[in-house]
């Protein structure tokens, strides 16, 4: 879906059109749910946050300001909402971890397509390598390749610069490539 076809829908939603609201909800529920789950690793927190988030959007729709890209706007705001609610949760459970050091954005083999263009490495291996990246690197990989955001939109969602996203991607792939190579070499050596 491109941005230009979304604008009227967003406009209708701002004007209070319930059908437009429902359309937005149905279009983005799955993507936002996956994203929230990756951040929080908690189904209930994610569902709860997502419900409150849409209610909040509706209630405050006239004060949301200029929205150029609906998808990245929703990702930015929902990310903030989930992090806020995790913080609150932690006050009660004295859970001391920030997004940086957390286990957020873990991947599982089932989430990867069988065919990977980057290598012939088995997905069980590729997942181990992906999960060994830093949380920030995993989030960039998630937003860019799982959610299909552009580098620019990824930067906006994570509130970092374009250059930062690019550097993070570069670091992530430098690491992945060298580890994939190591794996492939050791696989060859084992065979002989």
């Amino acid at each position: 879906m491109n941005t230009s076809s979304e604008k009227p829908l967003w406009q209708l939603f701002i004007e209070g059109d319930k059908n437009a609201f429902s359309s937005l909800f149905k279009t983005y529920y799955s993507q936002l749910y996956s994203y929230g789950l990756k951040i929080s690793s908690d189904q209930f927190i994610t569902e709860d946050c997502l419900q409150s988030f849409f209610i909040y959007l509706h209630k405050n729709r006239r004060n949301l300001g200029e929205v150029n890209n609906v998808k990245s706007y929703l990702f930015v705001s929902f990310r903030r909402a989930v992090l806020k609610s995790l913080k609150k949760e932690r006050l009660f459970t004295s859970f001391e971890e920030s997004l940086e050091s957390s286990q957020s954005f873990g991947f599982s083999p089932e989430e990867l397509k069988i065919e990977q263009e980057i290598s012939n490495t088995k997905n069980t291996t590729l997942v181990i390598l992906l999960n060994s990246l830093s949380t920030r690197q995993r989030e960039v990989v998630y937003l860019k390749y799982y959610s299909g955001l552009s580098i620019k939109d990824t930067a906006e969602v994570m509130d970092i610069s374009y250059q930062s996203v690019l550097n993070t991607l570069q670091k992530a792939f430098t690491k992945l490539r060298s580890e994939i190579l190591d794996h492939e070499i050791s696989a060859v050596l084992k065979k002989t």
Binding site: S5, N19, S23, Q116, L130, Y145, Y146, R177
Partner: protein, 109 residues
């Protein structure tokens, strides 16, 4: 096809890194995806002459190819259920009388 990279190098000294230039260059993207014989030949030749840039070239290729994910979709019935929860919570603050038209208007999106 004249590569954007060449143009950029000749035309200006913009503050773009080689990586930035490569990932936005259609011809280079074709090379990364092995899509156009002319581009493949051009870039293979370029790489041979710029072997010091090989790390950046392979990183750019990896960024372009990326990781292919199989996105989990939430069932429509689940989304409908969640939506009706949310809609029920929106109702009280609005004093619009119940309209009995079908709930979904077809929006072309």
């Amino acid at each position: 096809m004249v590569s954007l990279l060449m143009k950029t190098i000749f035309m200006s000294k913009k503050n773009l890194s080689l990586l930035e230039i490569l990932i936005d260059d259609i011809s280079f993207v074709n090379w990364a995806k092995n899509q156009n014989q002319n581009d493949v030949a051009f870039w293979n030749n370029w790489i041979e002459k710029h072997s010091d840039k090989i790390e950046t070239v392979f990183n750019a290729k990896a960024i372009i190819l990326g990781i292919q994910f199989d996105n989990a979709k939430i069932s429509e019935s689940k989304i409908e259920r969640e939506l009706s929860h949310v809609l029920a919570q929106l109702e009280p603050e609005k004093k619009i009388p119940k309209v009995k038209k079908p709930p979904q208007r077809q929006l072309n999106i």
